[in-house]
């Protein structure tokens, strides 16, 4: 039994982009941080903080949106018989790419989703980040043209595909067992922020429901921000790009309606104005996403449909966030961290090494 997938059509992907573009600013209105209605990198970083993997006090919260993304995708994959447990395509490389993708994203302060949400909120610094993202993905396409690939996956036990969804359920359980207590920075084993972006969040249930809905639709539509740029550069194929543009347009309109649009470079929420490093951070992130085959959101959706390698990328990002804050690599509104620049350079070298050495021997 297979029905035509309307979400994989032109209007389907535009609709999903619009859906995310409207709901992200609404989540911001409901309590999420500025121009951060949804940010996969920032939210995974907040989760790392809540778990104590780093101790940056202002970014600690288990984000229900992320849990929803994975579980929503899994529900869709099961309903439409697309749950395919698979693993074994260079997992350790994906882990490393995930870690450096996170480090690059935290130098800019956002994943591709947040880059466009920042733009749609009037933050001019996002333009530098987006240009860096495009540049990094373009480098990735050069490697792809030269035969770069991560090797084949293999079908595996259903349990493998269930791992990340189960971990996400575990995180949800932890949130319910150790709920946030007003004025306390720790509840049970979980850390909570008393101020800063980690203290700003929409109600748990609403965040979870929106996350589930987006996860469901993104699985159906294959929404991917990295793929949007990659396919345009590589094949002149603008299918995914229409969804990405739809997200920007609808986020802009929603911000305008909600009074959240404020144009400028200075004083933007959770952003800095060091243009070169906004660009370079996202160049690193874009290259890592391109080499890993998906933006951070897409990796969550793939994990939900049984892709164990994408789940390893997700863990690379979470651990990378720990490194980013423990080692002073992440930026803050005052500028890049003490070792952020060095981390970007190391990350780019690592990505280039991976890109140059993982070639298809014969077609």
């Amino acid at each position: 039994m297979r029905v035509k997938n309307i979400f994989a059509t032109r209007w389907g992907i535009i609709g999903v982009g619009a859906f995310i573009g409207i709901l992200a600013p609404v989540l911001q209105k409901l309590g999420n941080p500025g121009n951060m209605g949804i940010c996969v990198a920032c939210f995974e970083r907040d989760m790392a903080g809540a778990l104590g993997l780093h101790r940056a006090a202002v970014v600690q919260y288990i984000r229900p949106e992320i849990i929803g993304f994975v579980l929503g995708s899994m529900i869709a994959a099961y309903i439409f018989q697309e749950f395919r447990p698979r693993v074994g395509s260079a997992p350790i490389v994906r882990f490393v790419l995930g870690a450096f993708a996170m480090i690059g994203a935290l130098v800019f302060l956002g994943c591709p989703w947040r880059a466009v949400l920042r733009l749609a909120g009037g933050d001019g610094n996002a333009i530098l980040g987006l240009l860096g993202l495009i540049f990094g993905i373009w480098i990735g396409t050069l490697f792809l043209k030269k035969g770069y690939n991560l090797g084949r996956t293999q079908a595996t036990h259903t349990t493998v595909g269930w791992m990340l969804p189960l971990i996400m359920l575990g995180f949800l359980a932890l949130m319910l067992i150790f709920p946030q207590v007003e004025g306390q920075e720790k509840s049970g084993e979980l850390f909570y922020s008393l101020k800063g972006p980690g203290a700003m969040h929409a109600p748990l249930l609403l965040s979870l429901i929106v996350g589930l809905a987006i996860g469901f639709l993104a699985q159906r539509s294959r929404f991917c921000t990295m793929g949007a740029i990659r396919d345009t550069v590589l094949f002149g194929q603008i299918h995914l790009l229409t969804g990405f543009i739809s997200l920007v347009v609808f986020a802009f309109l929603t911000n305008f309606v909600l009074g959240q649009f404020k144009a400028g470079f200075d004083g933007q929420p959770v952003a800095h104005t060091m243009h070169i490093w906004n660009f370079a951070g996202m160049t690193l992130a874009g290259l890592a996403f391109a080499l890993a085959g998906g933006c951070p959101g897409r990796q969550l959706f793939l994990s939900g449909e049984g892709d164990g390698d994408a789940a390893v990328f997700v863990w690379g990002m979470i651990v990378g966030a720990g490194f980013a804050h423990n080692f002073g690599l992440a930026s803050s509104p005052t500028g890049v961290g003490p070792h952020g620049i060095a981390a970007v350079i190391v990350g780019l070298l690592v990505c280039l090494f991976i890109g140059f050495t993982m070639r298809r021997k014969s077609a």
Partner: protein
């Protein structure tokens, strides 16, 4: 005689790259592409159609699909 592109187990954009390579460089008019996810199936058929190819048949095979296209 049809050429066969085995893209099973490969993630995006590999199946599309391999298909386009075969369309551009291969001699056979008919190409069979084997993929193992619905995403790859959609991407390959979309890419083939954008190259002016005709998608003749998409049939389930094993854990995935067998896509038969003919060059335009």
């Amino acid at each position: 005689m049809a050429a066969t592109v085995d893209a099973r187990g490969l993630s995006c954009p590999q199946p599309v790259i391999m298909t386009l390579d075969e369309i551009k460089k291969g001699k056979d008019q008919e190409i069979i592409i084997l993929v193992d996810t619905d995403t790859s199936k959609e991407n390959v058929t979309r890419a083939a159609e954008s190259q002016g190819c005709q998608v003749n048949e998409v049939s389930p095979e094993g854990e995935g699909y067998r896509i038969t296209i003919r060059k335009g």
